[in-house]
Subunit: 274 residues, 2 copies
Amino acid sequence: MSGDRRPIGVFDSGMGGLTVLRAMEAALPEESFVYLGDTARLPYGTKSAETVQAYALQATQLLLAAGVKMVVIACNTASAVALEALTEALAPVPVVGVIEPGARAGVAATRNRRIAVIATEGTVKGGAYARAIHALDATIDVVQQPCQVFVALAEEGWTNSDVTAAAAAHYLTPLFAGGDGPDTLVLGCTHFPVLADAIRNAVGCGVRLVDSAATTATAVRSALAASGMAGDGNGKGGARFFATDAPERFARVGAIFLGRGIDAADVTLVDLRP
Amino acid sequence: MSGDRRPIGVFDSGMGGLTVLRAMEAALPEESFVYLGDTARLPYGTKSAETVQAYALQATQLLLAAGVKMVVIACNTASAVALEALTEALAPVPVVGVIEPGARAGVAATRNRRIAVIATEGTVKGGAYARAIHALDATIDVVQQPCQVFVALAEEGWTNSDVTAAAAAHYLTPLFAGGDGPDTLVLGCTHFPVLADAIRNAVGCGVRLVDSAATTATAVRSALAASGMAGDGNGKGGARFFATDAPERFARVGAIFLGRGIDAADVTLVDLRP
């Protein structure tokens, strides 16, 4: 039986979602991908829910036009405030977000039933992680901390800088002070996995770090199987990239998140403005 | 003789331009102001020249509609790439940018004819400061350094944090190492004046820090006088604020830059999308 060779669409406000693409490429080698970063309007993390919804709707329409069989919202902020609207607007194409997989990873990891979530201002303000965790287990204690500066540090490529170490200590030390702090930290922004070393140093080795990337790949695999859309490897064309601004910067900064080089010539500039 | 009581329009991608408004409020107490921050699409500093031009044109049309007599582009990135287009599009309303005043302040301050400029990626890439300085004195040596993380640190309000100290050391120490470094540092982004203490600690007390705010206020005074548009104090209504997203965040973060509190109720949400 031949598989569904259409690509999977991946959407993010910018380059951070490439950490999710990286996990999907590793977990789903038989699939091909189309990635869209809305770099002309990033970051979403400091913007209102209404604005993020409008931007995400415009952007994902482009993925539909590119013929994708599924859309992965590889952006915590957009998943937090726009997943429901996108699921409705893009139907019957399935839409997968990163919040529920991240919450699921956190719940699976915690032993003392205390989870800390770090994310952008927008994600924390909306409280989507706390809701998703409590939907899985209402007895878990959740603390949330916005870490807006981490986004800039990740984009600058300062993954092992003393600046990042100082920022991690500033944000995280208060969350884990005392003997009965959370034993699990959810990296609730797709930028944060590249700062994992500095974050781990700040919180200590007794805290488990989880992120949405691997669990989102698992969720995508399940969704593909459920809908009979799994690829067979013959449509495999790797990944194509679209950006709404500055393809050169997308390629340069994106390589930090994807973990491999991106040729600027492989990044197509698109205009989403109505 | 009565003066021109129409307000002066001030435009920035976000809240950083409030450092320029602060200087103008101090220097021009007889004037009133309308400030517009394009917070739905900030930051401009990592976006392409074409995108910044399009955004700035849309935004400044709103100031014209609000009846301003002059427009101040209180954003280095927009001044660097869009001043000419805006001057043409908004004519006959005069347009004043912040690059030329900043360059003028740097040239006036240097003794050893070596100037360092720190700015966003977009401003540095366009080279507008080097051109503006060389237009005033072609023999001056100019070094430029993008300091993108400073924007996030300023917006987080980490004006005296060890994180900011570490970032300042990272960016600035190489520029001023050795005995014959620049004696003048131009803060070529309106966010940076609030980080002046950390910047000064990193570069040492032998380096003069200059920014565009005070010299832009002087340039505005001259332009008002030249065009017979100076106010007489009777139209004085302080400042009104417009933002394209998240008025609450504008008020909270904006207070860092304006140096006084902003009531969120005084910030009007506007939609620039066509």
